[in-house]
Symmetry: C2
Subunit: 277 residues, 2 copies
Amino acid sequence: MDFREKLRIEPASSVKLADIDPSFHGNIKDKDEGKAELSAVLDEITPLQEKLYAEKKHALLIVLQGIDAAGKDGVCWHVIRAMNPQGTYVASFKQPTETEKAHDFLWRVHQRTPALGQVAVFNRSHYEDVLVARVHNLVPERVWSKRYRQINHFEEFLSENGVSIVKFFLYISKDEQLDRFEKRLEDKERQWKISGSDYSERERWDDYIAAYEDMLSKCSTEHAPWYVLPANRKWFRNLAAAKIIHQTLLDMQIETPTPTVDLDEIYRKYHHAVRNG
Amino acid sequence: MDFREKLRIEPASSVKLADIDPSFHGNIKDKDEGKAELSAVLDEITPLQEKLYAEKKHALLIVLQGIDAAGKDGVCWHVIRAMNPQGTYVASFKQPTETEKAHDFLWRVHQRTPALGQVAVFNRSHYEDVLVARVHNLVPERVWSKRYRQINHFEEFLSENGVSIVKFFLYISKDEQLDRFEKRLEDKERQWKISGSDYSERERWDDYIAAYEDMLSKCSTEHAPWYVLPANRKWFRNLAAAKIIHQTLLDMQIETPTPTVDLDEIYRKYHHAVRNG
């Protein structure tokens, strides 16, 4: 299965999430098969990220969005760990500080974009400014409605400066979310994660779905495509993310840099001399 | 073996690196045994880091120093990857920029110290300012000689603000370094790493050793101990780093936070209702 082909949102399409099955798992039979495939593709990602880091001519930005408990942290843990922490980082965007609020909404985001050679993961992102900001009327519609275009321009600018962008929307069903909340409630080590707002936000489910659909419809572009990852099955979500990251890295045609020094000369001068002397 | 006991530099001691065997591997028989132990200890580190991230009352700062090819990047890859990239980052300190040079030497470092809940790895650090700065006379002795005290005060301040600090000096022999350079020369994927300065720095080996000895002697404190990790054997280096990090995390007595909401009420309100309804 070509995961990118299958899961990518075409530019200027009209997404209806109800048409997508959050339990979809393609032609991957079960969890065991999924995990084996994941392990194989992670092994391919490791040397590619190493090369990216060495070459310093490309960067990769991975954007993660999804409703509470959709698995954004899980993707960080199970997929991003294939990459050397040297050269990789996760930037989480929470409620903006007073200073951040005094700037435009892309200001704090721009500061965390990856340098050439780096992979950045945005756990939540500038898209919160057309999601929570819209659902909770934090800004009027005349403000947030312009942001889709502003985001497209910003991402185009990044891509013209060597940053490849992939955006994952982790899609779980409303029932699956409730199940996951319940599992947290039952696990002493994870109970602290539960907050009252998890449930109050849940009451706005339909508003969020509408906001996600607009985000996906308006902001999936050639240079920064959105992928909807069916995420009810964690193993499929991880595998799909890894496969798409892998293919994106391959497309970047990263090359190991050539040595900056005369290797023969160095070899003669320092190594043979020592070995034979 | 108690790795901390064995490898820690006592405060106000007088370190002679010639007295330490860089090929030391304690009572660990061989690479296979070392790797098995490493895997076990990494499995212990994972949930501790998760707890640290959840609790947000402690932070951990891991400082890595060592001569070229000593294995700083290797520790990042083989040890730090036990931690969720969410909540962990590597800060590399290269030659300071013009802006950084216009500030005191701790200015850029302070900005990258970990927030409560985070683990930061400094790949090189403020210690470069008593190492390369001293060996190359980048500043006069009257300047660098004060820095040991300044660093101790800075680290004491951090530790009084919830940051536990462990510092690893990765110690390889001069022959081992040359072997590693040669392996890089022979590996097409890693040749780019070789630079002329690797070899010219090597000529200052003794100056660096003297600077390392002073750093270890003057800056190993109760609140921020230096550990000398014998690093000729990569597997022992990784195991020692992991063991010491593990023990340090245990000592921090991190606790899973208690829930901020009434779990029973939430359960009744949202879960039983749905389950039984």
